[in-house]
Symmetry: C2
Subunit: 231 residues, 2 copies
DNA sequence: CGTGCCAGGTGCCGT
DNA sequence: ACGGCACTTGGCACG
């Protein structure tokens, strides 16, 4: 990985066009050729960047750019699209390179998959007497997170989300439409289950007869710990 | 901005939990206290990070960590939430700091806002005799990009996208449903306008009686330049 | 300040 | 390769 601190200007063309006036920034060049142009604030997102696969070519600036103070021109060209990032280097303040090696990668915990797993285990959170049919129940347009039956055997389709947004309600609506075409399942009740349900999503869901269920991840995790301690 | 190359391990807790085994990585500490932990590949997204506002506190590792080889413990704590990033530094390979100053920021061109603006100006692209009612026409569930009237006064709701995907069709469908409840507007015709419309989105749109309109950004921009030259 | 929507989204996993 | 979908999504603009 190469890190260059430089006064530079940049221009990106591709899916959109963007220009970056002259200023001091950090340029990170990764082993795969990808380039990140960071300012000293904002978020983790660079001001400009080029994702792999791409190649970096360093040349002399043309006469105009040189007259404007440019010392180098970096052209980062994407290998498959016509996305291109051009960086005009006016002054190099620091330039270091280090071998990092392959990263073992991140291990995550607590995402939607876990929430779905917990709800499947604690299926009666849907209501007294509910039983699990299966997780990831397949339909023509993709799997429903959870299919269950209520206490008197009626089908219940559940969409699990960490954050319950309008998109999720649309998704569940599409599944319900398909599931309701199956005479062995219809009529299928919909449940929109999330740690947090946005008001507009709730309105839309209830307008469509979909029940909303707010999940408490911590207490569900506690219940799991408790039940595992019983064995 | 401080850039440290170090052999390190990390742990994030907050919205989820994630751990990162020991490896050599680049750590970027920005002026606002935010921290980015980059590997030598992937995209612009760091392996772990902490967004501002947050504070970095550097301490000695506890006895266990020290026995495991840790030399420093970096704790990055978010100011408002309980998000926290802990980095165990085992070996510092490089450590540099530079003053970058405030960045003048990025100038973008060609995003959806501009496309919407151009279409509002060139509203007859919807068809002969169309007139603009307003951009960002408000509804209970959010603003419709463009509301117009056709040559004989019928309402037309337009959803503008750079890339026309199924989501956009769903969005427009929701708006149409609401707008059609307004007797002053109904019946409202839907137009899905995008630089590129995915086949599946086109099928869905046309199935719902929504007209698809492919926009040529370059030619629309050219028309704008021409009209501005007339003044 | 919450709420919805766009993003050069990126990444992961399925057909 | 394309499509669907989650993401510590982040970021912005508007009520």
């Amino acid at each position: 990985m190469r890190v260059v601190i430089a006064r530079c200007a940049a221009r990106y063309t591709g899916r959109l066009s963007a220009t970056l006036p002259l200023a001091t920034r950090a340029i990170m060049v990764k082993a795969d050729g990808s380039v990140l142009l960071h300012s000293d604030g904002g978020s983790y997102k660079p001001l400009n960047w080029m994702s792999p696969p791409c190649t970096l070519r360093i040349t002399d600036p043309d006469a105009d750019a040189a007259a404007g103070g440019a010392r180098q021109l970096w052209v980062v060209q994407h290998a498959k699209t016509d996305d291109r990032l051009e960086i005009e280097i006016h002054e190099v303040i620091a330039d270091t390179e280090h071998e990092l090696g392959v990263d073992p990668g991140l291990i995550k915990d607590g995402v939607e998959a876990h929430l779905q797993e917990l709800l499947a285990e604690q299926i009666t959170l849907l209501g007294e007497g509910h039983t699990l049919v299966r997780r990831e129940y397949p339909t023509a347009i993709g799997p429903v997170d959870i299919l269950a039956r209520d206490s008197i055997g009626r089908a219940v389709a559940v969409e699990v989300k960490r954050r319950g947004d309008i998109d999720g309600v649309e998704q569940l609506t599409r599944y319900l439409e398909l599931l309701n075409r199956d005479p062995l399942l219809a009529p299928v009740q919909g449940v929109f289950a999330a740690q947090e349900i946005k008001p507009q999503a709730r309105v839309l869901a209830e307008d469509r007869g979909i029940r909303c269920l707010v999940l408490d991840y911590e207490s569900m995790k506690g219940a799991e710990d408790l039940s595992s301690r019983l064995f």
